[in-house]
C-alpha cells in the first residue's frame, strides 16, 4: 500500500533559524497536502499542491511538490515560537474509484526562544 515518510522525525531550532521537512511517497501522488498539529491539538489543513514542480508560499512557509509527484518539502524561514508543532504531509493517491489521503510520519518542530 501507499506509504508516506517524512524526515526528520524531530527538529529543534533556535528561534530565527530556518527549518525544512521532507516528505516522500512510495507511489506517485495525485496531489499533496500539508497539515499542522499544535501540541494537544488536531491536524489543521495548511495547503494543497497539485501540479508537478509546484511551489506555493504562505508568508514564511514555502511548499514544493516534486517533478515526479512523489516528494514534497516544507521550508519555514526565520522560525518563531508560534511555529511549534508537528507538520504532516498527506499524500493523495488513487485507490479504486476513490482518492485516499495517507498521512506522513510527521516532523515535530520545537523552537527554542
Amino acid at each position: 500500500g501507499q506509504q508516506v515518510m517524512q524526515i526528520p522525525q524531530y527538529q529543534h531550532v533556535q528561534e530565527g533559524e530556518d527549518f525544512t521537512t521532507y516528505c516522500n511517497s512510495s507511489t506517485t501522488l495525485s496531489n499533496i497536502q500539508w497539515y499542522k498539529q499544535r501540541p494537544g491539538g488536531h491536524p489543521v489543513f495548511l495547503i494543497q499542491l497539485v501540479k508537478s514542480g509546484e511551489v506555493k508560499k504562505q508568508k514564511r512557509l514555502t511548499f514544493q511538490f516534486g517533478e515526479a509527484k512523489k516528494n514534497s518539502s516544507l521550508h519555514i524561514t526565520a522560525t518563531q515560537t508560534t511555529d511549534v508543532g508537528t507538520y504532516f504531509c498527506a499524500g493523495v493517491g488513487q485507490s479504486g474509484g476513490y482518492q485516499k489521503v495517507t498521512f506522513g510520519t510527521g516532523t515535530k518542530l520545537q523552537v527554542i526562544p
Binding site: Q33, Q37, F45, V92, G97, Y98, K100, F103
Partner: protein
Amino acid sequence: EPEVTQTPSHQVTQMGQEVILRCVPISNHLYFYWYRQILGQKVEFLVSFYNNEISEKSEIFDDQFSVERPDGSNFTLKIRSTKLEDSAMYFCASSEQRPSGANVLTFGAGSRLTVL
C-alpha cells in the same frame, strides 16, 4: 467557521467494553473519515465513508470496528470489545469534495480513548 464536532472529548473504559465515539461532520460535506493517533505517533487512517457506505478501510479497521451514520448529522465509530492497544486519540474528519476532486480534510478536536 464550520466545525467538525466530536464527543466525548475523553472516554475511559475497561478492556472488553464497547465504546461509541460520535462525530457531527460539517453539514455540506459528503465524505467522512476516522483517523487515530497513538500518543506521539502519526495520524493513521481507519476508514472513509461516502453515500452511506464504507469507501475505504485500512488493515487496522478489523471486525472490532464499525461505522454508522444513524441520522442526517451524526457519524459514529464503534469499537466492539476494546483492547489496551486501542488507547489513542480518535479524529473524525469530513471533506466536501467528491473523489474525483482533491479531498481537503477538516478535523474535529478528537476523542481521547483510554482503555484500562
